[in-house]
Each structure stands twice: as structure tokens, then as C-alpha cells.
Symmetry: C2
Subunit: 299 residues, 2 copies
């Protein structure tokens, strides 16, 4: 069976693993990513982690998930908030030269989406839309086992989709952008303002809702409608077979996926109503998805 090197590069840590094409992690090493010490340091650290892996030469390729949009043609990051000076830095090329293996970069949401599409809740479906519902909101389109990253790597930046014209400009996102209305952070803010300023996780809000707290229920219901509005925009563009939703908030999926589905069905054409909303299944979508990048490119 083919094996691949998967790298999950984050602002805090980096993990490097040897993975089989069906998603088994054979060996894994982790360290700080040294993200603020410049790309040379980050790269030399990754190279030393890869060298610890047995049988690198037998692997068919290297895949890397990075936190930010990627130009998948040039194989470089287009913008890097959490990795200092990584914009346009040729990490992929450096690793190709070092190990003689093809190397593919993509952003962390796309990579997680690829993992879920190939190995997780979306497996067997031709068109999967993955959404990470966490502190922020991001997405990934996977068609026939391939991530569609877009011209500049911004495909999947669905957190910036406008679902209402009401509201104020509060950050770099659009007025009425879904991320400011329905992300984990937005839920916490709403709970703090409307219920208790001491609430500091979305989990607490869902706990109150479970106890039938009327305001908690209202906040979640409203979030579900807003989230469904975003999904309906996505649906009218790509008509996926399934929305796979991961990220911290989705751990409470039993309390809000049915609401999303109900509202979604009211916001799309009749023939689109059979779409599924499934929670993500994988514990380590970042490293598995990175490993799946070379596989999805036919390596």
C-alpha cells in the first residue's frame, strides 16, 4: 500500500506523519512550529522531523496543510497571518529538492475537507462541501476527490459570505458576513450580551439550551437560520451531496444540525432538499488531509 508524508503546519505546532493511502498513521512526530522565527527556521525544523521518519524514500509524496490561502499552482501561501514571512515562500519547492518527492500545499480547511471527503463523513460521495464551524467559519469544496482551491486559494472563504445587509462593520469581514453572526466566537459574544457575561465557551451556551433556557434556544435558532442561509448560497453554486461540518461548535451537532437542515430546505429549490448535513468523523483531519494531497493528485 502507498505511503505518504503528511504535515500539519500551524501557528503553534507542527506535526509530521507517515500515513497510508487509506488513512492509517504509521508514525508521527510533533514539535513547536517556530512560526515567529522566520521561514528558514520553520523549514529546517520540518526537514529534521521528516528525517526521523522511517522509509521516507518509499513514500509517494508530501502534503502540507497551512493556515491561510494557498496558490496551488505556484505552490506558495498567498497570505500568512500566523506564519511570519511565509507569503510566497517556496516551502514546497524546498522540500521537493531536499527529499526528491512531489510536494503539495493547501490551506488547513481545504485539507480537512479533503480528509473528510476521502476518509470521513463524505466518503463515497462525488461532491462534498466541508465547513469548519469553530472560532471562525471556513469551507472546502471537494469534487471527485480533489479540492477546488480557486485561482488565488480563496475558494472556501465562506465565512465572508453576506447573509444580511443589517449590522455594522466590525472587522475585515463584510457587514453581515456569516462568520460574525454564527461562528463560535459570535455565539459566545451573543451569550455574554444576552445571558451572562461570564459565559466563555459555545459549549456552555449549548448546555443552557439543553436545559431549555429560552434565550439560549433563541440564540442557537437564529445562528442555525443564518448558517443555513450561507449553506443555501453554497448549495446554489455547487449543489453538494453532503455538507460535512467539523470544528469545535459541531460537537453540539445534535442540537443544531436538524435546525440547519430545516431552514436550508426552505431556502433552496425542491430538488435540492435531500442534501445531508453530517458531523465530521475524523479525529485528525489536518494531518490525514495533508497526507491525502499527493494521493488526490494521482501520486
Amino acid at each position: 500500500m502507498k505511503t505518504v508524508i503528511g504535515i500539519d503546519l500551524g501557528g503553534t505546532n507542527v506535526r509530521v506523519a507517515k500515513v497510508t493511502e487509506d488513512g492509517q498513521i504509521l508514525q508521527e512526530f510533533k514539535s513547536p512550529s517556530y512560526s515567529q522565527e522566520g521561514p528558514e527556521k520553520v523549514t529546517s525544523n520540518i526537514i529534521s522531523l521528516i528525517k526521523k521518519i522511517d522509509g521516507v524514500k518509499d513514500c509517494v509524496g508530501i502534503g502540507i496543510g497551512v493556515p491561510g490561502p494557498v496558490d496551488t499552482i505556484a505552490n506558495v501561501m498567498k497570505m500568512s497571518t500566523n506564519l511570519k514571512d511565509f507569503t510566497n515562500y517556496p516551502l514546497g519547492e524546498l522540500l521537493e529538492n531536499e527529499f526528491g518527492l512531489p510536494c503539495y500545499l493547501d490551506n488547513d480547511a481545504n485539507v480537512a475537507g479533503l480528509a473528510e471527503a476521502l476518509l470521513g463523513a463524505g466518503r463515497g460521495e462525488k461532491i462534498v462541501y466541508y465547513i469548519t464551524h469553530s472560532t471562525g467559519i471556513g469551507g472546502a469544496l471537494v469534487v471527485a476527490g480533489q479540492v477546488i482551491s480557486g485561482k488565488n486559494g480563496y475558494a472556501g472563504e465562506v465565512g465572508n459570505i453576506i447573509v444580511t445587509r443589517d449590522g455594522e462593520k466590525i472587522n475585515h469581514l463584510n457587514v453581515g458576513a456569516i462568520e460574525n453572526l454564527a461562528s463560535g466566537l459570535a455565539l459566545i459574544k451573543a451569550a455574554q450580551t444576552k445571558i451572562d457575561p461570564k459565559i466563555d465557551t459555545a459549549y456552555e451556551l449549548f448546555k443552557l439550551a439543553k436545559e431549555n433556557h429560552p434565550v439560549a434556544l433563541e440564540i442557537i435558532d437564529r445562528m442555525a437560520f443564518d448558517f443555513a442561509s450561507m449553506c443555501s448560497a453554497v448549495g446554489h453554486v455547487v449543489d453538494p451531496a453532503v455538507f460535512v461540518i467539523g470544528g469545535g461548535v459541531s460537537q453540539s451537532h445534535e442540537q443544531y444540525f436538524p435546525l440547519i437542515k430545516k431552514y436550508y430546505q426552505g431556502l433552496v429549490h425542491t430538488g435540492m432538499r435531500d442534501v445531508q448535513f453530517k458531523p465530521a468523523e475524523l479525529d485528525e483531519p489536518g494531518i490525514l488531509g495533508a497526507a491525502m494531497l499527493p494521493i488526490s493528485h494521482g501520486k
Copy 2:
């Protein structure tokens, strides 16, 4: 050079042509489509038109554009408003059996988008989003020369994307759906209400705007903002290199594409602002795009 049979099947007419893989129409026949006389009549008429073409056996396949969503796996229409009883009717299979050639169906907007992506304003780009701006609004995503039709053939139903929560339910589309705000029909209605009840084409509205009629200018400006809002939703899902816009309204592109581009740039991330907005180039995208279906499937 490969040749293909392209069929543009509409509610009124049907056209059948022999086309080269680079988009030259070698031979073409046209007749009424007999759309209200049932699918057997429509099919037997198409078969007789194909039989008029020289060298059908040397063609590599048949492509058909139809007016409505298509299940491209089962190769049947999912809904047919303008072709009586065509839902789930096996037109593709019947033509395959008759001529021994692979046959592919897709809806007319997808087919036009494919033509523009391969032969028209989008050629050379890996990710093209085509929008028909006509009586209604529809779209098509073409990635690496292939149309993404979606699970149920509803990918591209962008006319139903919500751009504002204001407004009333006026038809089967969502409240605030872009088609009801920015289509050719919506422009005519706005012009009738705000300028002159006798206006009955979008062209007249653009003519008034050219003469600096302030209300005409305002209607067009508002349409451009709404249209750009829809494009920003599409952009955040697929991040195309170019939006190619066709259809009757787009003939006035010089008067409103620059406005769409300006508003779009204010509604997307900085790195997405270099997207192009181009008018469609082809005179016959329906028949050419239908002919490109077998080519895009590797025939």
C-alpha cells in the same frame, strides 16, 4: 480533427449540428422542438435531424443542452418546465442506442458556460464562472474544462441566492433572491414603476442611462451592487479567475460591468480583487457548448 454532434434543445426550437472539437460548426439543422407533444415526438424528431448529418458514425459523441436541471450521472432531466414530461425521460440512452455513440446531457446554462470556458471569453483559465444575465439569472462552474453540475444538477442555480432579507415573496424564488432584483425582467419592472410604464426592454433602460437619466442610472447602479453581492458569494465558494457574463442584458456590459467590478472588490478579500469580469464572446454558446460535452468527458 474530432467531430461531435451538438444538440440545443429548447422549448420552442431544436438545433442539431456537427461541430469540430475546436468549435467550428460544419453542418446544422433546425426545427420546432415539439416540446408540448411529449418526449417520444421530441426524440423521434431529433433522431431524424441527426440522420440528416453527414458522417454521424465518425463523430466521437453527442452532447445535448436542455432547459432545466440535469442529473448528469443518470443522464436525465430532474425537472422540465418547458419540455412536457421530460423529467427522468431517458433521451440520452435512446440516442446512444440509436447511434452507438456516447451521449451527455446538461442544462443550457452549464452548456453555455462550458462553451465560453473552452472556446470563448474564459479560454485558457482553469476556473471560470459563467453567468447568464437575461430574463432570468443562471450560472455554471467550469473547472479544468469540466462543468460541475452538482449532485442533482442544481449547481449554478445562482438566481436563487439571497442578497438581502428585505422584500416580499413574489414567486418560487427566495425572498431577496438576486434574480428578482437584477434580472432583465426585474430591470424592466423597475423601469416601468419608476420611469415609464411603456418601457418593455432592458435595452431602453440602458439607453436612458446613456442619456444620463438620473433614475435610470440609479436603477442600474443598484442592480450592479446586487449583482456584485451575488458574485461575491460565488467568489467565496469557488474563487474563479474570471466571471464570464452572457445573456441579453450583458450586451450593455460597457455600462455596468465596471460598476459590478467596483462593488465586487469591496465585498471580497484583498487577494481576490484581481478577478476579471468579461462579456461572453460566442454567438452560439448553446450548440457549441452541447458539442463540447463529449470532449470535456474525454471522448
